[in-house]
């Protein structure tokens, strides 16, 4: 077990977008029954077989660090959160498809996480405005996930999805739109319909972004 390498992935986003549910779904293969407000940071681990089926197969532990809070928090909270941003291998940005502001806040989240290494004093010098230059030399892979797709009415889905496609392009990131829904919960978590497909796609994207 000690020989397995460590992969640290941050899960960032506004309060209530569904980060804890997402992490629980990925790691426990079950839907989270009673989501509650995350204080500080909660971590979960997923065992993943890199390049499954090939001779180079290797098993990794993916640590998903689900950091709670909002971008508008007090600077003391931001300084404390900065402690979790060390040596990150990937960032998952989660936003709520029913809430436009959560998508806009993703810029500020990514700046907060990425600037951690650039400004050692821990003070954010930007005011959060989007600047593509700042992402140009970014080596850390980003993944944008939109949640609660089922809560959007059928007719509005196309408009919402085009908007989020632009968002993902701005970050130079891959995009997935998810439904994390209680109706899919069955007694045996391994039999969630359609879930194996999503798992493979999610795993696949992480694989392609994993530079070795």
């Amino acid at each position: 077990m000690a020989s397995l390498d460590r992969v640290k992935v941050l899960v960032l986003g506004d309060s209530g977008v569904g980060k804890s549910s997402l992490v629980h779904l990925l790691c426990q293969n079950q839907v989270l029954g009673n989501p509650s407000w995350t204080v500080g940071c909660s971590v979960d681990v997923r065992v993943h077989d890199y390049k499954e089926g090939t001779p180079e197969e290797k098993t990794y532990y993916i640590e998903l660090w689900d950091v709670g809070g909002s971008v508008g928090s007090a600077s003391s909270v931001k300084s404390t959160r900065a402690v979790f941003y060390n040596s990150v291998n990937g960032i998952i940005l989660v936003h709520d498809l029913t809430n436009k502001k959560s998508s806009q806040n993703l810029y500020r989240w990514s700046l907060e996480a990425l600037n951690r290494d650039l400004v050692p004093t821990g003070v954010l010098v930007t005011n959060g405005d989007y600047d593509r230059e700042q992402f140009a030399d970014n080596q850390i892979p980003l993944l944008v996930i939109g949640t609660k797709l089922d809560q959007i009415h059928e007719t509005k889905r196309h408009e919402v999805l085009t908007r989020t496609a632009f968002l993902a392009e701005d970050f130079n990131a891959e995009e997935i739109n998810l439904v994390i829904e209680k109706r899919y919960f069955l007694r045996d978590g391994n039999q969630i319909p359609g879930f194996p497909d999503r798992k493979r796609f999610g795993g696949g994207t992480l694989k392609s972004l994993h530079y070795d």
Partner: protein
């Protein structure tokens, strides 16, 4: 004719206040949320507009602007509308939004309160009591604990170590689950008769291990949350220490000493009022003028100055209480709301704001000279003002003393928490 002009002035100012409330809601309060239900924003702005109109009418009373009969009419109308909103509309909408989100909200709807004044005055007295004590405590740097960078680094290291321990335990659990799954011991509830028999005779050692580790992980997660909150506290204290070294900080420190004397004076006066069953008959303005005329022998035009000084004093009280209330509301709102409950909370805040302003008007009456009090007395009718002042004094005293006790305990407890390794 003059009535029409007066009414159009009042309506214009009401529209202005409405616009300000609308902007405040959009830019400050709801800046992180999506406004889906516009009725909430309208209600909030309307409540704010009519509350501000009441203050405006007091100012007009003092300055003698507008016709007195049209002032009286607008007072009555304003009061009608605001009571309608506070007693019927806001509670109705609170009920409506709670019922549509009932599974998330444990709080039950309070019964309709007929005497809005009592609640509002209690609230004001509580806030004043706490504010009077907390203000010097926050401003003065005497109470700041000494926090060094090494303290913060030590706590951060502990936090990261705890996270690492949680991770290693979760890795074990994930690996155990995977091997169990691969060996065919699927972790699910036994179904059917034969499954039940099987579960009695065989036991899965893997799953017992898992529950033990899960309990350890739960304890560690609780610890990590505690450490996170403590680190946040230390960072906040460090910032305050740095702030106190600036000019602004020194200025506030000085103000803090001044306010602590004022606070002690107020507590003393409240006690005297209760013990000797005394209700102040004259307001500070007239008393101040009396003192200057009688003891210092300075003669000046009492009528002219009393009007201007009342205007300034009442104006300051109104502006600071509105500003203080909006700031407190914003802080409170950020702290307790989430995207689901934001509607209910904003309506609750509108309710509180309305009640707070109505009782401010009640109590402001005491700060004004006699000739300006008549309209409030006439309009609010048979309310017993003395009761409200006595009630305010009692609650203020209770609140101030408990705040002192609370802050003392919190201050004593905090240093011991951080010193423990």
């Amino acid at each position: 004719m003059s009535f029409l002009i007066d009414s159009s002035i009042m309506i214009t100012s009401q529209i202005l206040f409405f616009g300000f409330g609308w902007l405040f809601f959009m830019r400050q309060l709801f800046k992180d949320y999506e406004v889906r239900q516009y009725v909430v924003q309208v209600i909030f702005s309307v409540t704010f507009a009519f509350s501000c109109t009441m203050f405006e009418l007091i100012i007009f009373e003092i300055l003698g602007v507008l016709n007195s009969s049209s002032r009286y009419f607008h007072w009555k109308m304003n009061l009608c509308v605001i009571l309608l909103i506070l007693v019927f509309m806001v509670p109705f909408y609170i009920g409506y939004f709670i019922v549509s989100n009932i599974r998330l909200w444990i709080l039950s709807i309070e019964q309709l309160i007929s005497r809005v004044g009592v609640i509002g005055v209690t609230l004001m007295a509580l806030l004043s009591g706490f504010g009077a004590v907390n203000c010097p405590y926050t401003y003065m740097s005497y109470f700041l604990r000494n926090v060094t960078d090494t303290d913060i680094l030590a706590l951060e290291r502990r936090l990261l170590q705890t996270m690492d321990m949680i991770i290693s335990k979760k890795k074990r659990m994930a690996m155990t689950r995977r091997t169990m799954f691969q060996k065919g011991e699927v972790h699910n509830k036994p179904s059917g008769f034969w499954g039940m028999i099987k579960s009695v005779t065989t036991s899965a050692p893997g799953s017992e291990n898992l529950t033990l580790i899960q309990q350890e992980v739960d304890a560690l997660e609780e610890l990590s949350r505690q450490l996170f909150l403590e680190t946040t506290d230390l960072y906040a204290t460090k910032e305050r220490i740095e702030y106190s070294k600036t000019f602004k900080g020194k200025y506030f420190n000085f103000l803090g000493y001044f306010f602590s004397i004022y606070c002690v004076w107020k507590i003393f006066m409240a006690t005297i009022n209760i013990v000797f069953d005394r209700v102040g008959k004259t307001d500070p303005v007239t008393r101040g003028i009396e003192i200057t005329v009688n003891y210092l022998g300075i003669q000046f035009d009492v009528k002219f100055w009393s009007q201007h000084i009342s205007f300034i004093l009442v104006g300051i009280i109104i502006v600071t209480s509105i500003r203080g209330l909006l700031i407190t509301l914003t802080k409170f709102f950020y702290a307790i709301s989430s995207s689901k409950s934001s509607n209910v909370i904003v309506l609750l805040l509108a309710q509180i704001m309305g009640m707070y302003f109505v009782s401010s008007v009640l109590l402001i009456r005491m700060s004004m000279p006699l000739e300006y009090r008549t309209i409030i007395t006439e309009v609010l009718g048979e309310l017993q003002f003395n009761f409200y002042h006595r009630w305010f004094d009692v609650i203020f005293l209770v609140s101030a003393l408990s705040s002192i006790l609370f802050l003392y305990l919190a201050h004593k407890q905090a240093p011991e928490k951080h010193m423990a390794p």
